[in-house]
Subunit: 255 residues, 2 copies
């Protein structure tokens, strides 16, 4: 089986949450909610447990990983090995990478996702951490170094930079800044109530908004001065609503 | 002589205003300020007259065109024929097209700009009206029909769609929406205190920000439904700070 990732730009509506339950096995799904990103995990867990329950998943539980001791606790392993779907809530993506990065939980999730036994989903911060390099913050005007700060993600989907709440928060400048600095990475801007569902080397767009792909791979001129505006000439851009697919290594929309 | 247009994204600093005076002839420049776009023309005229005076232009005057009768008044002609530079202030671009469009002033300005005897500058609304199609309004999230409303401009620079205050107001979605609807037009997003200076079929970028060019000319898939997100696959994008040039009909940055 190939690994399946459902990466949601925040504010997932019923259709996307229902799709996750279906991907995880429908009524037989065993879903684990991880609210490590949230500063109020009680609320985030309760909200998501109720939502997945409403969508017909019979086994839904929260796995509270509030610090690295918990993320290295051997009692995590049987919970995750029994799961068919794991869902990361929103909050602060650096809490996820700081608490889970390099722990036994991290290693085991990589194994289960690669083997295709677990569908891994994340929304907002839970989406950002999926990529090899994640956008941590940055709202500056224009395309510049000051407009973005990045850090390493958990690398479930290497070769991409993911931004979320994309249209709603007008984040294209920081995504363009990031791909100008790291043109190896494809920039994916995911709107709210919108997701990509990966299938091997491609993804499909789901939900009510669009995914914006920015590709500086064939840019002819990139200059990233310490201060002032970035030069980025020859960048490709694709705005893809639901129903479209994109090939990651080919760097182009798929018919 | 070729026509010279100085198209400013708003909030022009001293360097850009000084450059306009220099292009219009330096100390010998004869500058005419047209504040038709402004709802407070007294203030807009006074501000710009003082600025051009500070930059050493000895002949600076305001031409008050508050309605179509004024714009068709034969007394406009000697004023404009004596000018070496004409500057349109900001405000509401539809006031410019509604009051000046098709009048004797419009016809005469087209002639003088084409002949190269007048350098034509405009900031903000005065920039928007330069293009064949101008963006009138639209701030909706995402790339969609609802995100932009366009109308015909005065066509000093055909083949482009100009947006201003570009990075500062996060306007890329409305520019992408516009070029998806009208891929014939090159989309130019000009930041504040930033300008393009045209030279025949090319332009140079001046000022402290950047010009973002979006080009849907080679887009492979464009779908613009009445409601919901637009599809725009294969769009090219260039972020060009000062010192860069762009070839308009070639649709590519110039070395």
């Amino acid at each position: 089986m190939t690994s399946r990732l459902l990466i949601i730009g925040g504010a997932a509506g019923p259709a996307l949450l229902g799709r996750f339950v279906e991907l995880a096995g429908g009524p037989g799904a065993r879903i684990v909610v991880i609210a490590t990103a949230s500063s109020d995990p009680d609320a985030a867990e309760a909200e998501h447990l109720a939502a997945f329950d409403r969508h017909g998943a019979r086994h839904v539980e929260a796995l509270r990983l509030g610090d690295r001791v918990a993320a290295n606790d051997p009692r995590v392993e049987p919970v995750l090995r029994a799961a068919t779907g794991v869902f990361f809530t929103g909050g602060d993506q650096e809490r996820i990478t700081r608490i889970i990065g390099g722990t036994a939980t991290d290693t085991l999730l990589q194994e289960l996702v690669a083997a295709g036994t677990v569908v891994l989903a994340g929304t907002s911060a839970g989406a950002a951490m999926m990529s090899g390099t994640m956008i941590v913050e940055g709202e500056g005007p224009g395309v510049s170094r000051a407009s973005v700060r990045t850090g390493p993600g958990l690398e479930f989907l290497p070769g991409v930079l993911i931004d979320q709440h994309f249209a709603e928060r007008g984040r294209i400048n920081r995504l363009l800044s990031a791909v100008a600095l790291y043109p190896h990475e494809l920039g994916l801007g995911i709107d709210e109530d919108t997701a990509i569902l990966t299938d091997g080397d491609a993804f499909e767009v789901l939900g009510s908004g669009a995914v914006t792909v920015v590709d500086a791979g064939r840019a002819t001129d990139i200059r990233t001065p310490e201060a002032g505006p970035i030069t980025l000439a020859g960048c490709s851009l694709h705005v893809l609503p639901a129903g479209h697919a994109f090939h990651l290594t080919g760097r182009e929309p798929r018919p």
